[in-house]
């Protein structure tokens, strides 16, 4: 088991240590999760989801860059994730507008009523 000291020594030469990127994405990720759990508004939940997706994107890019610099897989995944995020947002917003139309607000609690 490595100690923190070893870690910094190993990463001393790097421009920015990989772990720093990861900690950023980690915070981003759990901030997203917190938002997703606490918000009642669907729109706000959607924003939280975007944060989570972003965290994932950062990870893809960072790992690709640090581990397999010659390849492009991670980058492409990030790219596609952005595209998917776009799709998801489009559909989600369509749904939100529908929900709003039916219930007068965009609270997630309304959606319980759709259950059979």
């Amino acid at each position: 088991m490595n100690t923190m000291g070893d870690f910094w020594v190993v990463n001393a030469g790097a421009a920015v240590p990989v772990v720093a990127y990861q900690l950023v994405s980690l915070i981003l990720f759990f901030a997203g999760i917190y938002g997703f759990l606490t918000r009642r508004n669907i729109m706000m939940m959607l924003i939280s989801v975007e944060l989570i997706l972003n965290a994932a994107d950062i990870n893809f890019a960072v790992f690709n860059r640090y581990l397999y610099p010659g390849q492009m897989d991670g980058m492409f995944f990030a790219l596609f994730t952005i595209a998917i995020a776009a799709c998801e947002t489009a559909v989600a917003i369509a749904i939100i507008i529908n929900v709003y139309r039916n219930f007068g607000n965009a609270d997630v609690d309304n959606l319980k009523k759709m259950k059979g």
């Binding site: 490595n2 990463n11 030469g13 938002g35 759990l37 508004n41 492409f76 998917i84 507008i97 965009a106």
Partner: protein, 179 residues
């Protein structure tokens, strides 16, 4: 060193704005903070020498998606109203869970980061390489995914229209009320 300074600035921005985005009571502000986060993320991509990704992030995410968000927000929310959050114990639970996850994952990262290779300077990916990879059908090439994505986008557009459009019945109703 410059790189490091830029990185830490971006990191602080992401951290602060992401937290503000999920805690803000006004939805428009939330969206704005989200925009900042997205832009900061784009900055990170830049740092990593992924210029294309940076461009996509800025144009699609910070541009396209955010526009959608803002539009939707204005469609569904009266400006200035505060959005509701969960009850107290739910927030506590969420904080607890999030922190627990944060610590757990952080622990994993810190203990395993040593296995990661160091940052190596590699040549920046040219647009040409990227285009070949995206539209090629060989190993490590992504034509299929790319096409799938386009189909998905199409499906989403159709789906979104279908969902958001008023149903026949309600259309009639509105017509009647109009008359």
């Amino acid at each position: 060193m410059t790189e490091q300074i830029i990185f830490y600035m971006l990191a602080i921005a992401i951290t602060v704005f992401s937290i503000m985005a999920v805690t803000s009571k006004l939805i428009v502000r939330s969206a704005t903070y989200l925009l900042f986060v997205l832009l900061a993320t784009a900055g990170l991509y830049m740092l990593l020498d992924y210029y294309f990704l940076f461009a996509v992030q800025v144009s699609v995410y910070a541009g396209g998606i955010m526009v959608l968000f803002i539009m939707a927000i204005f469609l569904t929310h009266r400006p200035g109203t505060e959005v509701r959050t969960k009850h107290g114990w739910r927030i506590g639970l969420s904080v607890l869970l999030s922190l627990a996850g944060l610590l757990l994952c952080g622990d994993i990262i810190l203990h395993n980061a040593v296995r990661l290779y160091q940052f190596t300077d590699a040549e920046t990916i040219t647009m040409q390489e990227m285009g070949t990879a995206m539209l090629g059908s060989g190993k490590n090439q992504y034509l299929l995914s790319f096409e799938m994505m386009s189909v998905l986008l199409l499906a989403c557009i159709v789906g979104a229209i279908l969902i958001a459009r008023k149903t026949n019945g309600s259309e009639k109703e509105t017509k009647e009320t109009d008359q």
